[in-house]
Symmetry: C2
Subunit: 363 residues, 2 copies
């Protein structure tokens, strides 16, 4: 459900086959020291995200940052995570400076194991790197016939309602749930008015920022359309934008992520320690602990079918639900390749040459 | 953090002492058949909500509806709830047509018992009445040194993004968490742009609805200020209002409540069965299963102190956090009484006379 303004302009697109992208990303991760299985997991998260057309969190924005963080020692390529506290339904994990995106699937699988045993599993993680698209990890539970919830607490860029200084990250929340025949629910949103990576994406594709998305550096909401610029020219507003439009709700959701993510992981919120890094929350709900799972899947189908066949308001073609367009894009992109901005292709050309990895194959 | 426009005008206010309101509400519940202990629980939920200045969910809007539902047999005054499925961390409860607001505290206490045993407890409930302010139930966990989350799936009034027909309730989400000396976090928001009860409150106090809060009956967002009218003249928009301002996020949060509330309770979403009633979700997190609880409380104090002492943006007096103004109002109202609209006082005069209950004492 990405806005038109964020799409890569046709003239700037180069199509890359899924398998080629997977191979190159895996090889890059391995070259910076990541073990083969983990490298493949990382490539799967990134490429799956691009397949779902969540460009903001795919290879375009994130891979170059990860590579840099491995090369400068910010990330540990061979982390050994340590469970610091555990109960039948919970675990708190020290991630040993691993890349969250690569460790996330394992953390969700641990939550699922606990949910299988006692009904629900909640795993928190600190001392970790960027998580990638949080919805990907939630989806791991959905693919295992559970409901997954995943959130991550990130660095301070969002001003609370009425505040002049940032106190929260864009702290996204996601939920994924399986259906029988309809595409699964895949919900993944920043609790800020727009995601942080969307600003960088807007700058790359030359899009402007809409009223109510950001504030100036003194916390005043910018209520006119404004050009997308580099980071550092503004702060993010919480979802809602202004108090009248509900920014206190976006603010509260960001605080929720800080409490369930950072605080339950035993890590300081970013407002108390800017160097605390990313903190993550993974929850799995064993559907069969609550209800008959066949009834659940059939009823999900009925609900999702009802949503997508709801009569649209005038000026709109159809009603979507979270995960529907992502699923459709995935089919399309598996068949015809993933469109990347030519600037991203140039980055791949440079980094593969530098690392001694075979060049990325394009169509 | 209620907007000025929703406040009862001074000239229309009558102050009622907390204890007087508690006594009268308990007596009214008992007169319609509720057992004494449950009646006192119900009065506690309603009066606590008014003490927190959440007028939209206190005695003014809700009590008359509950009385009517007991008198017409919609609600069962002496429900015997039944656990239909259970695991160490979970329970699914058939509420036997009880009033959710009265049963909610017990459901949260069951979730807390499970959290004490295995780290997390999640309880879902169907075949139930209105839950009142969901945050109240979350706060029961916070008062027991746990984190509480509570949500409720209500009747269809919210149009999904791009849709012309309502498919969700205003489906509120709440979280409460304890601190050491600072007032606890009390976050409770509708996933619609504004809460359903706020519209009735606006009509009572003569306030208008702001742009982006509601749509016309064909799902077109109303982007001008418009008079508050009776229910039925418009639909609610999801939090965000329009797609550009993030209504797909509010839509997704509403769907999240439907999945975790209705679907995990084994009940049909309102879009599939308009008579399915309210469905509730209660979660308790045992803080000590994750981290040292003393560290948690001290760090919460540091975080909340940082938030409330953040420099405000120009034109604002201070930065709040969810629960701060509610706590301050509670101190004020405990000392000086609860301001009720004179129309509400008139309703109390009528109903107490009709039921043969002593009249409500005012100051």
């Amino acid at each position: 459900m990405i806005l038109e303004r964020f799409k890569v302009p046709d003239a700037d697109q180069v199509y890359v086959p899924e398998q080629a992208l997977r191979q190159t990303v895996t090889a890059i991760f391995e070259k910076v020291g990541v073990l083969p299985e983990a490298a493949a997991e990382g490539a799967d998260v990134l490429v799956s995200t691009d397949l779902r057309a969540v460009e903001s969190h795919g290879v375009s924005n994130m891979l170059r940052t990860y590579v840099q963080q491995y090369r400068t020692g910010v990330l540990n390529p061979k982390p050994q995570w340590r469970i610091v506290r555990e109960s039948p339904a919970t675990a708190t994990i020290d991630a040993d400076r691993g890349l969250g995106m690569i460790q996330g699937p394992s953390a969700m699988r641990l939550a699922m194991e606990k949910a299988k045993n006692v009904g629900v599993g909640v795993v928190t993680m600190f001392n970790s790197g960027h998580l990638g698209a949080v919805g990907h990890h939630a989806m791991i539970a959905a693919k295992g016939d559970m409901i997954g919830v995943c959130m991550t607490a990130t660095g301070a860029s969002v001003v609370p309602t009425f505040a002049s200084e940032p106190r929260f990250g864009t702290n996204p929340i996601s939920l994924a749930a399986p259906a029988r025949n309809e595409p699964p629910v895949y919900f993944d949103v920043a609790t800020s008015a727009i995601a942080g990576n969307k600003v960088r994406l807007a700058a790359r594709v030359g899009a402007s920022l809409l009223p109510g998305w950001v504030s100036d550096k003194e916390g005043n909401p910018i209520l006119d359309e404004t050009p997308a610029t580099e980071r550092g020219q503004f702060w993010h507003l919480p979802l809602g934008g202004t108090r009248e439009q509900g920014s206190h709700k976006g603010y509260g959701f960001a605080l929720m992520v800080e409490i369930l993510g950072s605080m339950l992981a035993g890590a300081l919120p970013c407002m108390l320690d800017a160097s605390a890094g990313y903190k993550h929350y993974f929850a799995a709900y064993n559907i069969s602990a609550f209800v008959d799972p066949d009834w659940f899947k059939d009823t999900m189908d009925r609900m999702l079918h009802t949503l997508k066949t709801t009569k649209p308001a005038s000026g709109h073609d159809r009603v979507l639900y979270p995960g529907l367009s992502e699923y459709e894009e995935e089919q399309e992109r598996r068949a015809h390749g993933i469109p990347l901005h030519k600037e991203v292709i140039e980055w791949f050309a440079g980094v593969t040459k530098e690392l001694g990895v075979p060049p990325l194959a394009t169509k």
